[in-house]
């Protein structure tokens, strides 16, 4: 066969087989089950004759030898070595619509080539092999002194009659490496240095230098953040923010410090369960919190519990196992030997994650940096020192204790006030009032803006000269209470007292005066009894002295006797009408003492202190004695200053800790949630059996000592064990894509039957084993790949080469592709030198079109772009709003990260042109680049064009390129000279100030040139 005939055949074969198949599909050699047969059987047959028993037709399974050769009334689907006696052969060649397989209704057909493969396979004995990805990878031997990648690639090229391409020119090489390892373009100086460096180890030194750069971690993080679905917001419905960015920095740091991949994996899945967990490992465990969550009203916990299980199983499947085990949520897998049981038992590993199922995420673990950690420690020790000082001993206080005790007992005994326990406490609004053990009333539930509390207490024959209303703080109230307004305040508009006589008549009780422990300006105590029952404008309030007990003492105009059978009725009207200014916790007391009814007395002791005091000292137990002493210490004036300092120190530390960055992390529940098999994925169906954590049965099982429930740490260790055939292959395959544009097996998230058998299995397996042998050393793996000659080949394909291998699966050249979304931005900012290269920190908000978030709600949000340094950060730090991701990232195919994404699309759409042309980010970058042209290159227009071209594209322009830009510059300069206002308008784009010393028309015209440069296909292409 001539070369061109072979090529034709290859192209034809390509066109008719699966689009993911490489050149190898048509290579004529003995049929190989995994490479040739299984992809056909899986795609065309397994849906009805595969692992899923429930959808299996005619009780026939074709995914294993026993099933295929089983006797069905004298016929066999597969009769090894005998196509004529095999039903498969007859069915696939049949022209009868009733008989032919696959059946017409499946809309699947077999090509002649595929039928031939199946026939040849049966003739050769119809042997099955274990699916390639489940067979442990092994290394083939490589001759000494050659790069294993080059050796294995060229071995295949030779059989295909293809030749490797020459090495790319040095300018292309350093650009390629710089984009691949750092995500940034090289500076012209770096390019020059490398071009001139002809030493044999120049490349290796360049690689080493880049691997040591802090930007390497940023570049590597992008792909990882996609696959784990890192984002700043929760995803569902309100899509509110959550604290998670420290995890992003953890990932960057992990790549920069070359954390071994096994450690990296274990920390993410179980950083809280490892021995001696550190802040670092805990932050790594944020991985388990990256999923979508909801705050939607009316969401059912069980529904979302089930969603979280499936989300996490899909994640483990995509990130580490290259498995679509997520399909088993509703049924056994149609193509791979995975079951629903596998799915739910894998999910059970995560049943211990502590999290609100519905609702706002908790703030998370404080994540101080080094300086902050030191400050936190300092504040802690200040507090501890004060605590020690407070703890004493304080001789004089202790000496005074007995005296105080006696006085206190007197106060208790002589206390003219009696708590009134309401028999009924009702809110006319929607609040729920609960009378507590200490006779105080606590409001909860509905929070109307206005409310009236109705209280009833039966008479006991007592005489009443005054009423006391204590407003009490409570932990359940905003700002500690005592009110229900967000600042802890309340407004008591009016107190109304009535008595209902046994006979049924009700009389109002006139009030004479009111005093209070504290009055807010304009909200005096007296206005609470001014007789104005309806208005909300006046009343008693206590801001700013909230979060402490307050009291209002109301004197009756005349002593009142409440006989047995009578009922005292009390109305507390709260008509302020805004922001729920109602009482959160209060207590009513009455007195018969004339004097007490007219003044604010000492604060009553807490009930338990009163009780202790009333117990004779010799009957008090030691705990009660020390409780009493502690109470005394907490109020004794002598220690007031110390108490204040201690409280201040405590608050300072707490405030500091609260202001620290936080990160959601994994914390285990004491009792894991129950995970059941949900029939058809239906969470309402609780008939399925409860599942214990376990790994898929088809894979090598972990060894466990003891009879305990396996946990996430066991799962992580199993994933990273050498027996697991998938982990290394999955990572290597994904990494390969970063350097060659396509994985060795194209479907990065599915190494199962429906994925693609690797084009070069020996190479994938060699790299996988090498990676593990090397202690999961990621930088070493990267170095190995980029050191190869295969990596350094030219990416220019002449039409014949393009025709021969359009997708470059055989690697007879390098590939070229558009930069990832983040890098498009980074490149523009880097060449304009606007880039602020800080590593890490909270996510940032670049310019975004106004109103882009208008369809968000709960709450509605207005986007405020950052100013200053935060405006010019790398793309990977952009605020990742899942439901409305930044539109310039969307235009360049950045995923929303709602789902794990192993592979981004690479589209070429008009929105990309609109972004590069009109997004202020790129116009501003062009402006800044123009300013650099004028400031940094003093020469002719031609020289400046050349200079600018090199800044952006690293190479020299051709004469045509040069003249195109020169002509544009001259035209626009002439126009802007005539229209200086237009020039000024252009120079106002973005926050960065234009240099005042540069002539505006000149600068504007260079901005046009710079815009062209930043819009070029070559500029946003890695070649």
């Amino acid at each position: 066969m001539t070369r061109s005939a072979l090529l034709l055949l290859l192209v034809a074969a390509f066109a008719v087989t699966s689009p993911t198949a490489g050149l190898h599909a048509a290579v004529p050699k003995p049929v190989d089950y995994n490479r040739d047969v299984q992809p056909i059987l899986s795609d065309k047959c397994f849906h009805c004759h595969g692992p899923d028993e429930k959808t299996r037709e005619a009780k026939l399974r074709l995914d294993n030898f026993a099933g295929a050769t089983a006797d069905h009334d004298g016929t066999r689907a597969l009769s090894p070595g005998k196509p004529e006696e095999s039903e498969i052969h007859h069915r696939i060649h049949s022209t009868d619509k009733e008989e032919v397989m696959p059946p017409p209704k499946s809309h699947k057909t077999l090509t002649a080539a595929e039928k031939d493969i199946l026939d040849r396979w049966i003739a050769a004995g119809g042997e099955y092999q274990q699916h390639w990805a489940y067979v442990p990878p092994v290394k083939v031997s490589i001759p000494a002194g050659v790069n294993p990648i080059d050796h294995l690639v060229r071995q295949r090229l030779a059989t295909l009659n293809l030749k490797p391409s020459p090495e790319a020119d040095r300018v292309t090489l350093i650009r390629r490496l710089s984009f691949d390892l750092l995500g940034l373009p090289p500076t012209p100086a770096e390019v020059d240095a490398f071009v001139k460096d002809t030493a044999p180890d120049a490349w290796n030194r360049l690689v080493a230098k880049m691997l040591a750069s802090q930007h390497y971690g940023e570049r590597m993080a992008i792909g990882w953040l996609d696959v784990v679905r890192f984002a700043d917001t929760i995803g569902y419905h309100s899509d509110n923010p959550r604290n998670i960015w420290p995890y992003r920095d953890y990932v960057i740091r992990a790549f920069n410090t070359n954390k071994p991949y096994d450690r990296f994996t274990i920390e993410q899945l179980a950083g809280d369960l490892v021995e001696n967990p550190s802040l670092e490992t805990r932050v790594g465990s944020a991985f388990n919190r990256l999923l979508l969550t909801t705050e939607e009203g009316g969401a059912q916990a069980k529904d979302y519990e089930a969603r979280y299980v499936t989300d996490r199983v899909r994640a483990v499947g995509t990130v580490w196992l290259g498995s679509t085990i997520g399909c088993c949520q509703c049924h056994d897998h149609k193509y791979d030997p995975l079951t629903s049981k596998d799915f739910y038992s894998l999910g059970a590993f995560f049943a211990d994650i502590q999290e609100p199922i519905i609702g706002k995420r908790e703030p998370g673990l404080p994540v101080p940096d080094e300086t902050q950690a030191k400050e936190l420690e300092r504040l802690g020790s200040v507090r501890t020192a004060l605590q020690t000082e407070y703890d004493g001993p304080h001789r004089s206080v202790e000496a005074a204790f007995t005296l105080w005790e006696n006085e206190a007992l007197q106060q208790v005994t002589a206390n003219p006030w009696t708590f009134l326990r309401p028999a009924k406490a009702e809110s006319l609004g929607k609040a729920k009032l609960t009378v507590q053990a200490d006779e105080s009333v606590l409001a909860s539930g509905g929070k109307p803006d206005k409310d009236t509390y109705l209280l009833e207490a039966p008479g006991s024959g007592q005489t009443v000269t005054g009423l006391r209303i204590e407003a009490l703080p409570d932990g359940s109230l905003p700002a500690g209470g005592p009110g229900r307004a967000s600042n802890g305040n309340f407004v008591l508009s009016e107190v109304v007292v009535q008595v209902k006589r046994a006979g049924g008549t009700t009389a109002s009780v006139p009030l004479a005066g009111a005093v209070a422990s504290f009055e807010q300006g304009g909200f005096a105590a007296a206005t609470a009894i001014d007789g104005d029952k309806a208005s909300g404008e006046t009343g008693w309030a206590v801001l700013p002295q909230v979060n402490q007990p307050q009291q209002l003492v109301v004197a009756l105009a005349a002593p009142l006797t409440v006989a047995k059978g009578d009922t005292l009725l009390l109305e507390l009207r709260q008509n302020h009408g805004k922001g729920s200014h109602t009482l959160g916790r209060f207590r009513i007391s009455t007195t018969a003492d004339q004097a007490a009814a007219k003044r604010v007395g000492s604060l009553p002791f807490p009930r338990e202190i009163t009780d202790i005091l009333k117990t004779p000292a010799d009957k008090q137990n030691p705990a009660q004695r020390s409780q009493l002493a502690a109470y005394h210490k907490s109020i004794v004036p002598e220690l007031a200053e110390l108490r204040q300092r201690l409280a201040a120190a405590d608050k300072a530390r707490k405030d500091y800790e609260e202001a620290l960055p936080k990160c959601l992390v994994s914390v285990s529940l004491p009792t894991p949630r129950v995970v059941r098999i949900l029939p058809r994925g239906n969470f309402l169906d609780e008939s399925g059996p409860e599942m214990m954590p376990a790994v898929p049965a088809v894979l090598p099982q972990p060894t466990m000592e003891g009879n305990r429930r396996p946990n996430r740490l066991d799962l992580a260790r199993w994933i990273m064990s050498r027996e697991n055939p998938l982990t290394a292959r999955v990572f290597v395959n994904r990494l390969w894509k970063q350097f060659f544009g396509t994985g060795l097996s194209k479907v990065l998230d599915d190494l199962g039957a429906q994925g693609e058998p690797p084009v070069n299995p020996l190479l994938l397996d060699w790299l996988a084993v090498e990676f593990a042998d090397n202690g999961w050393n990621v930088k070493e793996l990267v170095r190995l790949i980029v050191s190869s000659e295969t990596y350094r080949q030219s990416s220019v394909a002449d039409p014949a080469a393009l025709q021969a291998d359009p997708y470059n699966r055989e690697l007879a050249r390098q590939s070229r592709w558009r930069l990832d979304a983040e890098l498009v931005r980074d490149n523009a900012l880097a060449t304009s030198k606007l880039l602020v290269p800080t590593i890490g920190g909270p996510s940032v908000k670049p310019y975004q079109p106004e109103g882009y978030w208008e369809n968000l709600n709960f709450p509605t949000r207005t986007y405020q772009n950052d100013s200053g340094a935060s405006q010019y950060r790398r793309g990977l730090y952009t605020w990742w709003q899942r439901s409305f991701l930044h539109p310039s990232l969307v235009a360049f195919d950045a995923p929303s990260r709602e789902e794990c994404t192993a592979e981004r699309n690479r589209s070429n759409i008009p929105q990309q042109a609109l972004v590069l042309l009109n997004d202020p980010t790129y116009v501003e970058a062009a402006r800044a680049l123009a300013a650099r042209i004028l400031a940094e290159c003093q020469g002719s227009i031609d020289q400046r064009v050349i200079w600018a071209w090199r800044e952006v594209l690293s190479r020299h322009p051709t004469p045509e390129e040069q003249s195109t830009l020169k002509a544009l510059f001259e035209k626009h300069r002439a126009e802007y000279l005539k229209d200086p206002e237009a020039a000024q308008a252009l120079l106002k784009t973005g926050l960065a100030a234009a240099p005042p010393d540069q002539p505006a028309p000149e600068l504007a015209a260079w901005t046009s040139v710079a815009r062209v440069l930043l819009n070029l296909h070559e500029t946003i292409t890695r070649s």
């Binding site: 993911t20 969401a299 059912q300 429906q754 070429n908 070559e1018």
Partner: protein, 475 residues
């Protein structure tokens, strides 16, 4: 012919037709063509459409929040009779409940009288008098059913056929299969408006292309700021100067192509031309001032008011310009409380404009091949909800109403039924996937053939469960 038009013709001759097609020169698109079987390199997938084409385009009026079927299209006298009484346990036992979880469930009578309209005698409440006047154009489905009871997953399901994020939306699938008819506009355009009580959030996911190439994603047409994101030229850049920049870019890209033979470059050049054309065409498209005062009055809008009515008028203009899939989201139907007040206000804004759109399209001869769909992500409970203010209704997924009109739909038909209290769809139940199958069918697509392999599965808009075209409502 203007210079610009000449450029456009030349460009179209070179690269196929329009937005969706431009990228067909790319290898990726060729791959899809190859994957789908033989056929010409036409706009959409080879071999598509494979069925008779009843509708060339879709206008989907998406009533976000979930309109009550009981106050609109589904009369339930028995529910009125049981008003205030406990909802019979037989209806609700074992059912998924949203905000009414754990609360006393009581029947809540339909709040508006129904009237019979037109020759068909469609029963529609008085809150929709304008829709009543076009009743004979409508095929009402009273037996819709979905699988999700909360807004977010229900929206995702209604738009993508699954509750899992990251899948292509309906419009993206349609564009992928059929390509675009518009020469200088995106083939899938999304417009949003809001009104009334707590407009529910919606997400980009609802019109995203998911794992399909980005060119199939819905493009929002906005009522404030630039109508299309990043459409506005930078300050100080006149159309001519913008053209200078684009021409220079394309010239340099072409020169580069001769050196490196990169098929993506031709596509890139085409996209810049498309971007430039959009900068010219979109401002004209959104300028409603060119409509007569009578037309504005008929829809009930004023230019630039961002209302649903404005969006309906824009939808007609988009349809005239060949846009394939037009989706209007109106956020305002989540009536947990004060149902009477909120649904009336909302209906006023939607009723007139929807009817105007139908008659306007009809007068222009566009209704015959434009499929109109009206409905939300779910319906509302027959039970009352009382959380604040006057009573309302909670989310409800087991039975609700939608209507279709135009594009091969048999107007005046009423399909399916819920039980006597409007809880479960019981007769001729139409699941979301059946609706999807029907929409695709009208566009000439066999829903089982519109698939793409992703994560090992042949994924379809209609999913893996059997889906049925609702033939009873087809003309």
């Amino acid at each position: 012919m203007s210079r610009e038009a000449a450029t456009r013709r030349a460009f179209l001759g070179r690269c196929g037709v329009g937005f969706g097609a431009a990228a067909l020169t790319s290898l990726l698109a060729r791959e899809h063509a190859a994957a789908a079987g033989s056929g010409s390199g036409s706009n959409g997938l080879p071999g598509f459409p494979q069925l008779p084409v009843r509708a060339k385009r879709v206008i989907y009026l998406y009533m976000s929040g979930g309109p009550s079927h009981l106050e609109t299209f589904d009369p339930k006298p028995e529910l009125a009779r049981l008003h205030g009484q406990p909802m019979p346990d037989s209806f609700t036992r074992g059912q998924q409940i949203a905000q009414l979880q754990g609360q006393r469930l009581a029947c809540f009578a339909p709040q508006f009288p129904f009237r019979r309209w037109g020759k068909s005698g469609h029963e529609i409440t008085e809150i929709f008098p304008h829709l009543g006047s076009v009743a004979d154009e409508l095929a009402i489905i009273r037996s819709m059913s979905t699988d999700a009871i909360n807004h977010d997953p229900a929206n995702t399901l209604m738009n993508t056929g699954t509750m899992i994020s990251g899948r292509p939306s309906m419009g993206s699938w349609v564009l992928y299969g059929l390509g675009s008819l518009a020469e200088d506009l995106p083939g899938f355009v999304v417009l949003t408006s809001q009104d009334g009580r707590s407009p529910q959030p919606i997400s980009q996911r609802m019109w995203h292309s998911g794992f399909l190439p980005g060119k199939f994603q819905g493009v929002p047409l906005r009522s404030r700021g630039a109508p299309v994101l990043y459409l506005e030229r930078p300050g100080g850049v006149s159309p001519d100067r913008q053209a200078d920049v684009i021409n220079a870019v394309s010239r340099l890209n072409r020169a580069h192509d001769t050196a490196v033979h990169d098929p993506e470059i031709a596509t890139r050049i085409a996209q810049y031309e498309m971007a430039f054309r959009m900068q010219t065409s979109v401002p004209g498209l959104v300028d409603l001032a060119s409509e007569s005062p009578a037309m504005l009055k008929r829809y009930g809008c004023e230019p630039g008011d961002g209302s649903f009515a404005s969006n309906c008028l824009l939808a007609r203009r988009l349809a005239e310009r060949g846009v394939r899939f037009i989706q209007l989201y109106h956020r305002g139907w989540d009536h947990h409380n004060d149902l009477v007040k909120f649904i009336q206000g909302n209906a006023r804004n939607v009723d007139q404009a929807t009817a105007a759109l139908i008659t306007d399209l009809k007068e222009r001869g566009l209704l015959d091949d434009t499929l109109i769909i009206w409905g939300g992500e779910f319906g509302r409970t027959p039970m009352a909800q009382k959380n604040k203010g006057g009573p309302g209704r909670d989310h409800h997924m087991k039975g609700f109403s939608m209507f279709l009109a135009g594009g091969g739909i048999k107007g005046g038909t009423c399909h399916g039924a819920t039980d006597e209290l409007g809880y479960h769809a019981v007769e001729k139940v139409v699941h979301v996937r059946d609706l999807h199958a029907t929409i695709l069918h009208q566009l000439g697509i066999d829903h089982e053939r519109l698939s793409l392999k992703f994560q090992g599965l042949d994924l379809r808009l209609t999913g893996v469960e059997p889906a049925r075209v609702v033939r009873e409502i087809l003309a």
